[in-house]
């Protein structure tokens, strides 16, 4: 299909989100967490970051060249998330392999950011855990959780993360944590999930896209975190969040299908 674009004068007036601005906002939101991580872990973290960046950018360049499209730079944001999730001791070739898998099979084969079904960073982290024996994901720290907050606020304000998803995931974790060991462990749980919640489960293109669907999606993701969590006590394993995000994303189209069916039914009853 050609000729479906807005005419040039309206294209210029567009003040809302463009793919470029979405990428930029995500990078800005990620700046603080990456900074904290660099300060905490120093050079090994920097080399992981560079390896992830190079691998993802190479793949994006390759796909852009083959398809004759312009670069979106979105892969840089994905690389930043991967660098935060991967422990600094991981061999760099494993980081590069994981980033390549995430970029290619998480989004590029589907046509790029916004066309895929899972979050590319979650796919990369999942690949790393599954493929290499002994490889794990780095846990969260209080500083990282705090650094996530301004970015989360920015994304929420811009409407790039749905508050419905965040609220329903947190509600499920609250209930589960409360049933396990009362209120004492709740702050620890939030520190553990904050980053993954905002940047993996909150990813708008991987989640459900109807308002009702977002509630269900959040509850499902929260339940999956509880089920996958291998850590004793209130702490949550990062891998649990990654796999909860992947699995919930796979169910998102199904959730949307039922949400749309409900809306259509309601419309039919209301409008005759």
């Amino acid at each position: 299909m050609t000729g479906w674009l807005l005419d040039p004068h309206r294209m210029r007036q567009r003040a809302g989100w463009t793919p470029g601005r979405v990428t930029l906002a995500q990078m800005v939101a990620l700046a603080a967490p990456v900074g904290v991580k660099l300060v905490e872990q120093g050079m090994p973290m920097a080399s992981v970051l560079v390896a992830a960046l190079i691998a993802s950018l190479i793949w994006e360049l390759a796909f852009a060249a083959i398809r004759g499209r312009s670069l979106t730079w979105h892969s840089a944001g994905t690389a930043l998330i991967i660098a935060i999730l991967v422990p600094p001791a991981t061999p760099l070739w494993q980081v590069a392999m994981a980033a390549s898998f995430g970029m290619v099979f998480g989004e590029l084969v589907f046509g790029g950011r916004g066309y895929g079904i899972v979050s590319a960073a979650a796919a990369a982290a999942g690949f790393l855990v599954f493929s290499f024996s002994g490889a794990g994901l780095s846990g969260s720290s209080q500083a990282l959780a705090l650094a996530t907050l301004p970015g989360a606020a920015l994304l929420l304000l811009g409407g790039l993360v749905s508050w419905r998803v965040l609220v329903s995931v947190i509600a499920v974790l609250l209930v589960a944590g409360f049933m396990q060991d009362g209120t004492s462990g709740l702050p620890e749980t939030f520190v553990a999930v904050a980053f993954g919640l905002v940047f993996l489960i909150g990813d708008p293109v991987a989640g459900a896209s109807t308002q009702l669907g977002r509630w269900v999606f959040g509850v499902l993701a929260g339940l999956l975190i509880v089920v996958f969590d291998t850590m004793a006590g209130p702490d949550v394993a990062t891998a649990a969040i990654v796999f909860a995000s992947l699995l919930a994303s796979l169910f998102a189209p199904l959730i949307d299908h039922f949400a749309v069916a409900l809306i259509v039914r309601r419309r039919r009853i209301a409008h005759g």
């Binding site: 299909m1 050609t2 000729g3 479906w4 674009l5 807005l6 005419d7 040039p8 004068h9 309206r10 294209m11 210029r12 007036q13 567009r14 003040a15 809302g16 989100w17 463009t18 793919p19 979405v22 360049l61 852009a64 060249a65 004759g68 499209r69 312009s70 670069l71 046509g111 790029g112 950011r113 916004g114 066309y115 811009g158 409407g159 790039l160 749905s162 708008p204 293109v205 989640g207 896209s209 109807t210 308002q211 949307d256 949400a259 749309v260 809306i263 259509v264 419309r267 209301a270 409008h271 005759g272």
Partner: protein, 420 residues
């Protein structure tokens, strides 16, 4: 208005009606009548009088289109598939104006015949589909849109000032046409349709995004679907109906607002439907500081189209700056290969703005996806029959894809209309 929009103007609109520049030429446009194939009743060089039929709809010969001014037919061209391109009339100010005619408007049949014969029928639009209604159809309700769809549109109460009796007599004529209600949708204030019987109802819509569009009024008061049809009509068309009944002289003047960042004196002007925008804005364009040319839109900055003629259903002219020509950025070596202008819509990132701008109790992302792939069945299930192009203008502006959803909707609606 949407936050951060670059069409915000520096000079506020002055709600004062002015006569504006004299217009030499006016046109009846095919762009306003998509899908219509005309049978021309005049030729190039013919003299026509105001109110004289110039062409009829080939499919419904009862629907007559008349000349809004007296003058000479300068151009009558057909477009692709024998549709109308434009019929241009050069006004001749000294020519003989037609005398008043007596029109009967006391029964439903009289009103229908009168509207059809005097070229006022095309002021009505059906919903669903947004087309001129068939001459023998009857809707469940009629919606008179007397709201301003954005802060720079003319204030209907001011535009009707002095024509209130005609407006009310037009409303009474419309009420005769149908058994159902006539909703007069207005912004909050004094009811301009008070005391006209219980079938003519004033409804009030507070200012806000999309609250001035006929689509949102219809959605709130009488949602439409495959089996439920309503008509909508603009308040100036209702006043024109009233003017014909009261005076016997057809009136095709239109009060439009002349706005935009490049308008030297944003205000209301009185002109004709189809007026040449070149003539009308000849001395109204503010020179730009960077020397860029101005583009003239017929309609609002959101839903308008770059045009040389004022559209049949438009009440606003927007003057915007054209972007300066993009400098060729040669160099950058290899990276220049990866910098291309988009040639097709980008991805739809489900942001919160989509839901906020769409409204209509329609799930935004599934609906926009259905439109982008041209899935008429899914789009109709989700409620596309309630919409026309203008209702999707705001959502097109905030979507990441850069797609013109209005055009996609028209494609889907045409497909559905063919099956219906």
């Amino acid at each position: 208005m949407l936050p951060g929009f670059r069409t915000d103007q520096t000079v506020p609109l002055e709600q004062v009606i002015d006569d504006g520049m004299p217009v030499e030429r006016i046109a009846l446009l095919g762009a306003d009548l998509p899908g219509l194939r005309p049978r021309l009743l005049c030729e190039r060089g013919d003299r026509v009088q105001r109110g004289q039929p110039v062409f009829v709809d080939r499919a419904h010969p009862d629907i007559v289109f008349v000349a809004p001014v007296s003058g000479m037919v300068e151009q009558a061209t057909l477009g692709p598939r024998r549709s109308l391109s434009a019929l241009v009339i050069r006004a001749e100010p000294g020519s003989k104006e037609p005398g008043p005619v007596t029109v009967a408007a006391s029964t439903a049949t009289d009103v229908r015949t009168m509207l059809l014969a005097h070229g006022l029928w095309p002021g009505l639009l059906t919903r669903p589909y947004g087309r001129i209604p068939a001459p023998d159809s009857t809707p469940d309700a009629i919606f008179v849109t007397a709201t301003a769809d954005n802060p720079h549109a003319p204030d209907p109460r001011l535009a009707l000032d002095g024509r209130n009796d005609m407006f009310r007599s037009g409303l009474k004529a419309l009420a005769l046409l149908i058994a159902g209600p006539v909703h007069v949708c207005q912004s909050p204030g004094a009811d301009i349709a008070a005391d006209l019987g219980d079938r003519i109802r004033g409804s009030f819509f507070p200012a806000g995004p999309a609250s001035g569009l006929a689509g949102s009024h219809i959605h709130r008061l009488h949602p439409v679907g495959p089996q439920r049809m309503v008509w909508s009509i603009g308040y100036q068309d209702v006043a024109a109906i009233g003017a014909l009944i009261e005076t016997g002289i057809p009136d095709f003047t239109r009060i439009v607002s002349l706005t935009g960042p490049r308008a030297s004196r944003p205000r209301l002007v009185r002109t004709f439907t189809g007026a040449s925008l070149q003539d009308l804005t000849r001395e109204e364009i503010l020179p730009a500081r960077d020397g860029s040319a101005a583009i003239i839109l017929s309609g609002s900055p959101l839903a308008g189209r770059p045009a040389s003629w004022l559209g049949r259903y438009h009440q606003q002219i927007t003057l915007l700056s054209d972007a300066p020509a993009r400098k060729e950025t040669a160099g950058w070596g290899l990276l220049a290969r990866f910098k291309r202008p988009p040639s097709r819509p980008g991805p739809i990132v489900p942001t919160a703005a989509l839901e906020k701008m769409l409204g209509f109790d329609i799930p935004a992302v599934p609906f926009l996806r259905a439109l982008s792939v041209g899935d008429a069945e899914a789009a109709s299930r989700l409620g596309c029959l309630e919409l026309v192009e203008e209702d999707l203008a705001a959502v097109s502006m905030v979507c990441t894809s850069g797609a013109d959803y209005g055009r996609m909707l028209r494609h889907v609606l045409d497909e559905l209309a063919e099956d219906a």
